[in-house]
Amino acid sequence: MTERERGRHEELIEQELARAAQAAQPAAEPVLGVRPPQLGYFRTQTRLRTGWFWSLYGVWYRHVRVYTKTLLANAAPPVFEPLFFFAAIALGLGSYMPNASFDGLPYATFVASGLVVASAMFTSVFETTFGTFVRLVYQKTYDAMLGTHLALNQIFIGELLFTATKGAVFSSIVLGVTAAFGVRPTAWCVLVPVVGAATAYLFGAIGLIVTSYVRMINNFSFFTSGIITPLFFFSGTFFPVRGHNTVLTVFAGLLPLTPAIELSRALYKGEFTRVTLAYLAIFCIYIVICHVVSLRRMRKRLLS
């Protein structure tokens, strides 16, 4: 909030309070059998001073409520999908290489450390592509929000915070289930949901950027099949992307999923090197850039 804006708010609040005091006139005769609620009463200082928090919370809460109303249909596929990969590849394929060491980890642990992050990526990408598009074009959810004093940025920050929440939950579920199947997490793994949330935030923002350009819902399959699926396979989920040669290592390191997977893997190993720090830096830079670009793009799309 700028200084000027804050000044205006204070001014407005004073006016409102004066007006509220003045407007204590008797209510009109009820027409529908019930006395109408007093209007003009709610523009009080509370709403203007702490309103931004409740507005943002409202957006987050709206998504949570709608999502959990049909929880099973919404959450079952994205929970089971990474677990199928885990069963087929880490347990199935992995059983043929019992003593192999991948990046210093047993194969099942190696794959699990990638899947906790990939599950967060998938859930958030679908949320902010198909989900956002449906809300934008078919359900007109954002129109309703535009009619209130919600700032445009708040609408989408709220949405990204919701995807981050989902990311944290999903990566925790994958963490828990793989642990039940014999993957040994370290104490550092309590931070896995944080990495999951950050990954979901990043990919949520990427999804919003894509959505801001898309005019037909079918076009998303280019993005999900053409970009997200390859990212899932070639960012180090199933085999190490570092160490083949320098060009490949750098290229893979710049894919947006790789830093997230490397961070989660560092947590599973419990060791942090200078390389980990570099990945953390890349990850943060991506998040900041995508956050800014996605808000700008969606603002443009919404107002067009």
Binding site: A28, V34, F42, T50, A151
Partner: protein, 306 residues
């Protein structure tokens, strides 16, 4: 607020040469108008006249292309937050969340408006009561009838206690009972001093509710004024309307005739000549007062506008 004060108070909305283009299409083509406090303004026009675009500019959901617009003396888009905290919008489409129940829909919207949790709860309960929907609080939106949904949408726009209520075609597609309930609600809100902007293509709705009418066509405001004045200024008082007439009867000098499609219209300032005509005509003719619809059709032609 009495009439004198209302006349002195600054206008709530001022638009000058306000224009919005979509590509080459001028959805709103340089409109000028003012809205005074304590008024209900009806924006009347066919589909595609630019009514919705105009409303969207007022609540900062879309940017203007050129011209000037101020709302409460503030500039939309720049002071979006301050303006929108003082108004409520009832949308044309049902954009309530289908999966949520009635109370949740209002509660969530109240949070958007910046009410804290307990206030939002209380306000939701009050409004459901006022809308006579208290017993439907736990019903999902998809299980509610069209009329209930529409009442809920009006209620939703009142959560923040607005000074200005914008209604975009509030009764389109509703049965007569529900329309009358909505009108009664709007009149009650008017009595509380809420300024209402209403878009509609129902002439009777505009005529009943509005203090002043802006007749829009192809992005322009072609006429404005009090409904009754508009009719008196632009048309004769009585109309006789008859379809499928084979031969035209002889007309006295004070009857004006118009033929559109398969329908003949006879206009006159007094009733007797039309009544005489009415008795001559074999078909089912309709003798009535001229209304806004006639004014509208006089100015925009009776052909399809697309």
């Amino acid at each position: 607020m009495n009439q004198d004060q209302a006349a002195c108070a600054p206008p709530v909305i001022v638009a000058r040469k306000l224009t919005r283009k979509f590509g080459n299409l001028e959805a709103v083509a340089g409109v000028d108008f003012q809205v005074q406090p304590n008024q209900c303004i009806g924006f009347l026009g066919p589909n595609g006249a630019g009514k919705t675009t105009l409303m969207r500019m007022i609540y900062s959901a879309i940017e203007k292309t050129s011209g000037e617009l101020t709302v409460f003396g503030l500039t939309p888009m720049v002071d979006r937050k301050l303006i929108n905290s003082r108004l409520g919008v009832v949308f044309q489409d049902n954009n309530l969340d289908e999966d949520l129940d009635a109370a949740e829909c209002l509660h969530v919207h109240a949070l958007y408006c910046g009410l804290d949790w307990p206030t939002a709860r209380r306000r939701t309960a009050e409004l459901l009561e006022w809308l006579s929907l208290a017993d439907k609080a736990r019903s999902r939106i998809r299980a509610l009838s069209g009329g209930m949904v529409r009442r809920l949408m009006v209620g939703r726009a009142l959560l923040n206690g607005p000074e200005l209520l914008i209604l975009d075609e509030p009764t389109t597609g509703l049965d007569p009972q529900v329309r009358h309930v909505i009108w009664a609600m709007l009149r009650e809100l008017r009595r509380q001093g809420i300024i209402i902007l209403l878009t509609t293509h129902y002439m009777d709705e505009a005529q009943q509710l509005s203090d002043s009418i802006m007749l829009m066509d192809r992005g322009r405001i072609i006429l404005s004024g009090r409904p009754q004045e508009l009719i008196e200024r632009h048309l004769e008082r009585y109309v006789l309307q008859v379809s499928g007439l084979e031969s035209r009867p002889a007309l006295s000098a004070d009857v004006r005739h118009e033929h559109v499609g398969d329908t003949d219209y006879f206009y006159s300032h007094t009733e007797p000549p039309l009544r005489a005509l009415y008795r001559q005509l074999p078909q089912n003719a309709l003798l009535r007062h001229a209304n806004l619809e006639d004014v509208f059709l006089k100015f925009t032609g009776r052909g399809l506008h697309e």
